[in-house]
Symmetry: C2
Subunit: 330 residues, 2 copies
């Protein structure tokens, strides 16, 4: 049974500004979603995904079933489970296409040490891992560029036409990535001692992106703030190339402030950021859409993780090095 | 016995950026320092200032006494008391000069409902009130422009050559003030429902200003952030002229984020700002140098003050309308 895994990601710099054509630098983190897939000849899909909820979730449906909207056990699950199943379903459809077999079924098992639905790129990791494992179950080996491109199309379908090429590129390729518009490329990077903490929530990405747009349209200085983030990212690329981790931390602190000015931080994210800084982190910022969710800090010691674990606003925290590899096959 | 009072102030917009030639808008708040002064013919000064510390402070010294550095009771007082006495001493010297009587002594009593040394312009209010009351005790009535100018010179002397004309102009003149470089002028403004909260601390202004300078010199995008604050202030002037208090609140929120990007906020200031926003304030930001001290919010209701009073980071909170009058004489 082929197993494929793909890493989650944090934004070292540049979220939100990337929407306006500025560059951003997502980085794959060594926390992975693993998909194990086997062919079924009865055309049905059995998805067993303990990672998607605390109680575990098992979903079974066939090609003709309107299962994803009506299956009782599934609609009772949290929204993040239903969302994750959409990605798996679309990834399996893509695998059937590359296999040239529109009727093949799958046994799919998904496991994860990456928090799901927390703004850490779990949907891209689920998509890349499921698509690759399902293709392999059909004896098709996709190269990374094709995998990243197909996974992007899957995300677009599962997200009603909206997706970022950066997420699936990062999950497929790993490492530090520079994204600017549709152009994604890998950056050389030193070892990055990330510490991630989640407040247990998740911002409404669409509403947050719309809020930034309203600000940028109302106020030229808000548009300038987006431009300042772009300049910061370019400086950050220099620091990455130079392997200057302390400089990366300083830039993360400023990036967080600029995101705060754009209205996308939150009380709990600020509390987590200050906890990390007070513990001696080299820098800390929210990662992703904001409004709730996760922060990322840089700290080669254990001090930041220990302090975050005790912070009232912190639901979960973990260390994760930069994931040099994206997709891995077992 | 003449009594003169002068208001404290908050920065509605623009602190720190004003150092780089951008405009800023300090606003006088209806919290006052009151100085009552009477001539003494023995050339001595007796300063009775319960407002300057919790236990009250009484200082007595003569023209030739090296009292301010060596008087045992005084050196035991907190630094903010010793600083406040320097302003009073320099203000009395200025009053002797305008009175043309270099040997006159004074009984001075200082009372305040403005927190002292909390970054709310207490030194300028102490200076303006003491200088005006002492001049009146010598039968000299200063016009406001002269008073503001002399009080500025007093602050410069008490602060080893560094002072802002805005502080004493605001204390002498009241209302909303536009400062740009050495140019200070009054702005028309609607009624502004300020709520102030202090974390009980005070940042190191010199260190904070130096930190912003290091950032601005190292990073062009930090210099751009300073420029963005200037553009925000100009937009704020329009909102003041239009009497649009909700817009002022929105701009305060963005101003706070831009100050955070410049590294001058703190954990407790961010907590107070979020407490105000969560309570329904129209906007909230740190006021003054930052690093600790006070925030200012806008809320026509009591909700923000009530919420701040319960916040762990809050030492004291109070409502204060815009003070239309600066100096007042009783």
């Amino acid at each position: 049974m082929p197993t494929s895994s793909a890493p989650g990601k944090v934004y070292l710099f540049g979220e939100h500004a990337v929407v306006y054509g500025e560059p951003a630098v997502p980085c794959a983190i060594e926390r992975r979603v693993r998909a194990t897939v086997e062919r079924r000849d009865d055309g049905r899909v059995v998805l067993d995904a303990p990672a998607l909820s605390f109680d575990g979730v098992t979903v079974e449906y066939g090609a003709g079933d309107p299962a994803l909207s009506t299956e009782p056990a599934l609609t009772a699950e949290p929204a993040r489970v239903r969302r994750a199943v959409r990605y798996v379903d679309a990834a399996l459809a893509s695998a059937r296409e590359v296999a040239g077999d529109e009727t093949v079924g799958f046994d799919v098992s998904i496991d994860s040490d990456l928090p799901i639905g927390a703004g850490l790129g779990s949907s891209a990791a689920v998509t890349v891992a499921s698509l690759d494992a399902a293709a392999r179950a059909c004896d098709v080996e996709l190269d990374r560029a094709t995998l990243a491109d197909r996974a992007y199309q899957v995300e677009r379908e599962a997200q009603d036409g909206q997706a970022s090429r950066a997420d699936t590129f990062c999950a497929a390729t790993g490492g530090a990535v520079r994204v600017e518009g549709d152009d994604c490329r890998s950056l050389a990077a030193p070892s990055l001692p990330f510490v991630v903490a989640s407040d247990g929530g998740a911002g409404d990405t669409g509403a947050l992106v719309a809020g930034v747009r309203r600000l940028a349209e109302a106020y030229p200085f808000a548009a300038d703030t987006i431009g300042a983030i772009g300049d910061l990212v370019r400086r950050g690329e220099d620091a990455l190339a130079a392997g200057d981790v302390e400089e990366l931390g300083r830039l993360m602190d400023v990036n967080h402030g600029l995101l705060s000015a754009l209205g996308v931080s939150s009380r709990s994210l600020d509390e987590l950021v200050w906890t990390a800084r007070d513990a001696g982190a080299l820098g800390a910022k929210l990662t992703g859409a904001g409004g709730g969710g996760c922060i990322v800090a840089l700290d080669p010691t254990d001090a930041t993780e220990r302090a975050l674990a005790l912070a009232p606003a912190c639901e979960t925290t973990f260390r994760a090095e930069l994931a040099d590899e994206g997709l891995e096959r077992e």
